[in-house]
Structure formats: C-alpha cells, structure tokens
C-alpha cells in the first residue's frame, strides 16, 4: 500500500509542513516560490468530482493566477486580509503515494481555525482534506497540484482571501 520509503515519506512530510507554515505566516513570496510552472491551486465547490472546465470552483488558479493572487496580497491593500488572519493550521492523517512521472502525492486532513481580525474578531473554522502532487526540485520539492476539499465546500462559506 505504502511503497514509499521511510525517508521519502519523511521528506514529503517536511515539505508539506513547510508549505503549511508559509501559508500560516502569510509568507506570500516564499509560498509562491514552492510552485511549479504547471501548478494548479484548486478549491472545488464540492468534493472535486466535477470538471473545473464545466463547473465553477471557489478558486481555480493556474500558475499565472497564483502569481496575481500573491501580487494582490503583497500590495498591502487586499482589505480582506488587512490585517492578515491569524492562523495555525493542523495537517494530520497523512497518506503518501507514488504517482506517474516521478511525482508524489500526499493527502492529509486539515483543520484551520482562522482567527479573523478584519472586521468580525472571531474564529472561522476550515476543515477538509488537502491533496498535494509534487516532484523533486533541487533538494526539496515543487508543487504541481494543491487541491483543498472543504467539508463545507457546497455550503455558504465566508471570505477565503488567505492562502488555504
């Protein structure tokens, strides 16, 4: 089932943990630098069992749009993130898979109790499952796909302007 070596799994865990921390800490540029140029960042509007070419998603960014998103956040006037939300997300229940073409897939459940401070000062709860597809780049990895399936993907959700 898990044909990946212990070292591989540890390295992948380290990588996704790092990615999560950059997102938590609104380290926009460093986060963008993790992406491959064919990267797709996707938050589907349900389980993701539809074609994003046929149905609308909460977020479906190709690399260019990821750059735009990051550029907008970096202006300092992205009011939906002024001030930035306070976040410390948890990833757990990781599963590791080998993909074709030397890529690797990591899936994990996550919980992110966003503390929103733009207007309403309260927790907003984000729960779901994240899938990464990555490949090696230098001594680390690059992201080809990050798909974030929210448990309430098909429900009304509040503003999601931070990096999830």
């Amino acid at each position: 089932m898990n044909t990946l070596s212990t070292e591989r799994r540890a390295a992948l865990l380290t990588f996704v943990t790092h990615e999560a921390r950059l997102a938590d800490e609104s380290e926009y540029q460093a986060w963008q630098d993790l992406w491959a140029e064919d990267g797709v960042y996707w938050v589907p509007r349900n389980d993701g069992d539809y074609s994003p070419d046929k149905q609308v998603s909460h977020l479906y960014d190709n690399y260019r749009r990821i750059q735009t998103r990051v550029a907008q956040l970096k202006t300092g006037f992205r009011y939906s993130q002024v001030p930035v939300s306070r976040m410390r997300r948890l990833l757990s229940n990781h599963e590791y898979f080998a993909e074709a073409d030397g890529r690797f897939r990591v899936e994990a459940n996550f919980f992110l109790p966003e503390f929103s401070v733009q207007a309403v000062h309260d927790f907003r709860l984000w729960s779901g499952r994240v899938t990464y597809v990555v490949s090696e780049r230098g001594d680390s990895y690059q992201i080809h796909l990050k798909k974030v399936v929210l448990v309430n993907a098909d429900e009304p959700i509040p503003t999601l302007a931070f990096l999830i």
Partner: protein, 412 residues
Amino acid sequence: MATVDKYEALIQTDRIHGSLYTDEKIFDEEMETIFYRSWVFVGHASELPNPGDYLTRDIGRRSVIMARDQNGGIGVMANRCQHRGNMLCNQNRGNARNFACPYHGWIYDLQGNLLDVPYRQGFKKDFANMGLETLKTEIYRGFVFSTFNPDAVPFADYLGRGFELIDRACDLSPEGEIVLEGGWMRHHFDSNWKMMPENDTDGYHVSFTHRSMMQSLESQYDEFAGEEGKIPGEVRDWGNGHTEIDFTGGYKRPLDWLGTTAEKVPEYVRSLEQAYGEEVAKKRLFDGPPHAAIFPNLFLGEMNIVIFQPVSANTSIQWATPMFLKGARELDFRLLRQCEGALGPSSFLLADDASIAERSQKALLSGTPWCDLSRGLEREKHNDDGVMAGHMTDETSNRGFWNHYKQVMTAE
C-alpha cells in the same frame, strides 16, 4: 402608520439611517413586506433541464422547492409538509418522481399536490386542501420570479423596465437564452443584505476598495479610475428599485467586457452575426451585458448571475454563477474563470467588497449614525430614455434603491 412614519424618517433624500442595516425588527418587516408580499427572483429554468429536477432555495427565511414537473412546467412551493410541518427536501438539488415526507410518509407530486397518506382511513380531510403551499410564479426568458402573495401586483408592474435589462443579458446568446449550469458559489457575509445591491451598483468605491486588484491585475475596470471629469460610463436608476452601472462608455473595443477581442472568439462573433445580423451583433458585442441589480435580490453581474439572500439583519449570502450563453458554450471556460476571479469568497474583487461590508456592518452596530447619500444629487438627470443617470461615482443608483425601498415599505 407608525411604521410608515418610521421609514419616512429613516430614509431621507440625502441620507439614510444606519439602523436600516442593523435593526432586527426592520429586518423582520422587510421579510414580510419585500420577500413575502412582493416578487422575488428564485432561479432559472435552465437549472432544471429535465422533468423531476428540483432544487431548494431560500426566499427570505423561507425554504422553497422549485421543481420541473412531468409536463415540463416549473413550479415553486414551500418546502414543508402540510401534515406536521417537516422539511420535505433536505438536499440542495436532485431529481425525484415525487416528494415523500420522511416523518409519516405523506407523498406529494412535483406540483405539490398531496397524492397519498399512509393508512388513509384515519385521515378524513380533502386532499385538495392539503397540497403544499404554492407560490404565484412567472417566468421571463427563463428567469423564475415568485411571490407568496396571491394578491401581489402584476408581474409586469413589478419588473417594470427590468425586462430591458434581462433582454440585454439574454440577447448576448446567439439563441437568445442563457444557461445556468455552472453551479453556485455561496459567499457568506457578516453584513446586511442591502449592502450587496448598494455596493454592486456603486461606482464610487472601485479605486479604493479594489486598490489591491487595480495594482496587481489589468481589468476592464481600469478605465473607470481617473480624473473626475474624464471617467466614462454612468450609474442609473431604472425605477422600481432596479439600478445599474453602465460601463459601455468606457469600452474601447468590442468584447472589452469579456476581456478579449473578436479575433480570439471568432466562433461566437460569427454565430451572433448569423443570429441577429451584423449590425445588431456589432452593437451587442460592443455594449456587452448589463451590470444591474433587479430589486430586491437579483443581480445581472455582467457575465454572472448573482442572488442576494438575506439571513438576518447582520448576515447574508451572495450566490454567484457564470452566465453561460446558449449557442456559445465555447466561452464557458473563460466565463468560469472570470466568475471565480470576480465573485465568490476567493475572488480578487468581491472578497474585498465582503470585508468592507463586514467592516461597515460592525461600525453601524456600534452606534446608529446617518449614512450620507447626497453625492451627485445636483448633477443627476434623466436620459432620453427616461432613465435617471448620474456620474459614475455618484449615488444615483443607491438613491434609486432606497427610494423604491421606502415606497415598498410604506405602501398600504
């Protein structure tokens, strides 16, 4: 009468009172008067392609089922069993032959007629009186409007010149029809629902609220930031609470509104020309879709359809879906990405509008100030077509909303 006086006092020509956004009693009165006694937008016929297709939606606080029956007709009815009041459907959408209540098994057909009750001997009432509460419903070019009030004003009186705005949207399709098959994003706002139509037809905020987008992305809105005297376009009050920002004046080329050019979508250009002739097609390709709010809860948001759903005085939900064009489905991918970019919780645009609305809501909950609405009062004027128009940055559209709101809330 006391209520009439209240709204007269709260809504003045040059300002409105903050409590209109925060007072739960006013919210209750809005639900009764606007959402249950007048007409509202429910959905679009293209959402229910097949007989038996249904969806549930909320009108104000009331859940309704919109269903296509076996004859292809579309009806809207309360989502509540006539027996003991259970919720009939607890799914967003589906296909059904009929509706069975999970509590005691009463069965209704797709038009809401009571078909059967288990153990019939014990139930003596006439089935004819025990069907689901159905709403008076009218459909215009697929747009389904309903009212709980059998004595509501005639539909045409309600929609008024809104017909023209809907036409402008549908006429972009070579087949004259829009298709809502893209699914709905639902974006939760911790703010009053009225901030949505206000903000969506406010031309004044663009350079400020959307400063970060302006700095990081070229868009069709770039033309509309600049010197006051040189800003093209205008805001409009179409009457009946319907209001608009018209961007046409700022477009430089056909299809600017789609962020593209005729060369890049030749198929679409060709089919439009074939359908309507070259001249008409040309104008439509230049002018593009409306950016207009239909009172109280529909927004024709350029190539998107938007619903405003009130939840409480302090919370609302904005629905959004791309407006696909029948006969030009090769545009779908582009429309999907534009919809996500402009609308919904992660968009470049509405995410910031939502946060600004939530800031406003919080500030208005903190004290009850007056909100100024005087901008451009002196310079607005009626266009030749009789529609009141103002400078792109003026509050003509918002005044249009509030004038009608006051009229509705103070009507006998």
